[in-house]
């Protein structure tokens, strides 16, 4: 039996019990080969030293230190976990955006119908236009965050999710609408230009 095959068996002996035949061959070889015998002794001592390595303890402040470095808990209004937020709030937000868009004309008419707004209808329309501009700004934010990586992921920044949801909804709605300006916006333009 060669020294190399004995080496193999010596290593395998750490993982399984050698068969009596294998053990006999190893013992026979070690009895005759001084180099392999010395090697086997050293290997055994090394592995024993490794296996008796004492367990080291991390610092006492380890857990606190890790907790201090964790990203802030992602909760909406202080109690809704992010996982719930993402799974519930985003679809709801998109649905709300769709409904508002579909019924925008009726909504504007009803807002106008209230006498309290009648006198300040231009203010109401201005607010709507500002909201519209905000949505456009959010589309920009969403686009900026689209190549989301680990650092700017929704786990760390919930506003990314909101911006993406609103942005995508907005772009889809504009596409459905053929990228035409909504009536109230045209109305505003007419009002200001006139």
């Amino acid at each position: 039996m060669t020294c190399k095959s004995i080496q193999r068996l010596l290593h395998e002996a750490f993982e399984r019990t050698l068969t009596s035949e294998e053990q006999k061959r190893v013992d026979g070889h070690l009895g005759a080969c001084e180099v392999c015998r010395a090697d086997a002794v050293l290997l055994k001592m090394v592995v024993q030293a490794v296996e008796t390595t004492p367990i080291a303890q991390p610092s006492e402040a380890f857990t606190i230190s890790v907790m201090d470095h964790l990203p802030m808990p992602i909760r909406l209004f202080g109690f809704i976990p992010m996982v719930v937020f993402r799974s519930v709030m985003i679809p709801l937000g998109v649905a709300a955006a769709v409904l508002i868009w579909v019924y925008r004309t009726a909504l504007i008419s009803s807002v106008k119908a209230y006498s309290v707004f009648d006198v300040e209808s231009s203010q109401v329309l201005l607010t709507l236009q500002q909201t519209y501009a905000s949505l456009q700004a959010m589309v920009g934010s969403a686009m900026a965050y689209l190549p989301v990586n680990q650092i700017s992921s929704p786990e760390e920044n919930p506003f990314v999710s909101v911006a993406i949801a609103i942005g995508v909804a907005f772009v889809m709605l504009r596409m459905v609408n053929g990228f035409e300006s909504p009536e109230w916006e045209l109305e505003m333009d007419t009002e200001y230009s006139g």
């Binding site: 090394v46 030293a49 080291a56 890790v66 470095h69």
Partner: protein
């Protein structure tokens, strides 16, 4: 009643920070010891272990319960520790070359050979061996730590390191020989 890893992870995924603190308490010693044997000093090991937990927290949503949490966590810890070890050993000839071409690339022998008149006692020998683990190529330190110190099975090591079992066995064989060689060179310089 103690919650299982999987239950704690589920709570942590729902936003429970105390649940994640419990996960840290449960695994910090294993993760720290793994890092310590790979990077070789307490300061870097503590940093690597903390970084591993922070990364695990950030990636918690991507953890699926069909895998074992400790294996998933160890994989993160090993990767962080390997990166840290490589960074701190940039002065040593390419570690990857040593890993891929074990027979042709000689190991770097640290300059801490014993003087001829120095007598080494058993406790010194054990300490020497333990110190030398961190002098091995990082992946060898990782397999030897996982197998001989943390008593993980071949399957667990293979899953943690994302390697075939055959490769794990080969790494382990070479790691033991490399460690023996390092120790021998310190004890019998020249």
């Amino acid at each position: 009643m103690d919650l299982s890893d999987e239950e704690l992870v589920e709570l942590a995924q729902q936003g429970s920070r105390p649940a994640f603190a419990s996960i840290i308490d449960r695994h910090k010693v294993s993760v720290f010891n793994m890092a310590l044997r790979i990077v070789g000093n307490r300061e870097d090991a503590e940093e690597a272990a903390q970084d591993a937990f922070i990364r695990a927290f950030r990636a918690l949503d991507s953890f699926r319960q069909d895998a074992k949490f400790s294996t998933w966590l160890y994989r993160i810890a090993v990767n962080v520790s390997l990166t840290k070890a490589r960074q701190s050993r940039l002065d040593v000839t390419s570690i990857d070359a040593t890993m891929d071409d074990e027979d042709s690339a000689p190991l770097q022998i640290p300059d801490r050979a014993l003087k001829p008149d120095e007598h080494i006692e058993q406790s010194q020998f054990q300490e020497l061996v333990r110190t030398m683990i961190a002098e091995l190529p990082p992946k060898y330190s990782a397999v030897i730590t996982m197998y001989h110190i943390q008593s993980l099975s071949y399957d667990e090591i293979a899953e943690t390191l994302d390697l075939p079992i055959g490769t794990v066995k080969a790494h382990l064989f070479r790691a033991r020989n490399a460690l023996k060689k390092l120790v021998m060179n310190v004890m019998e310089p020249g």
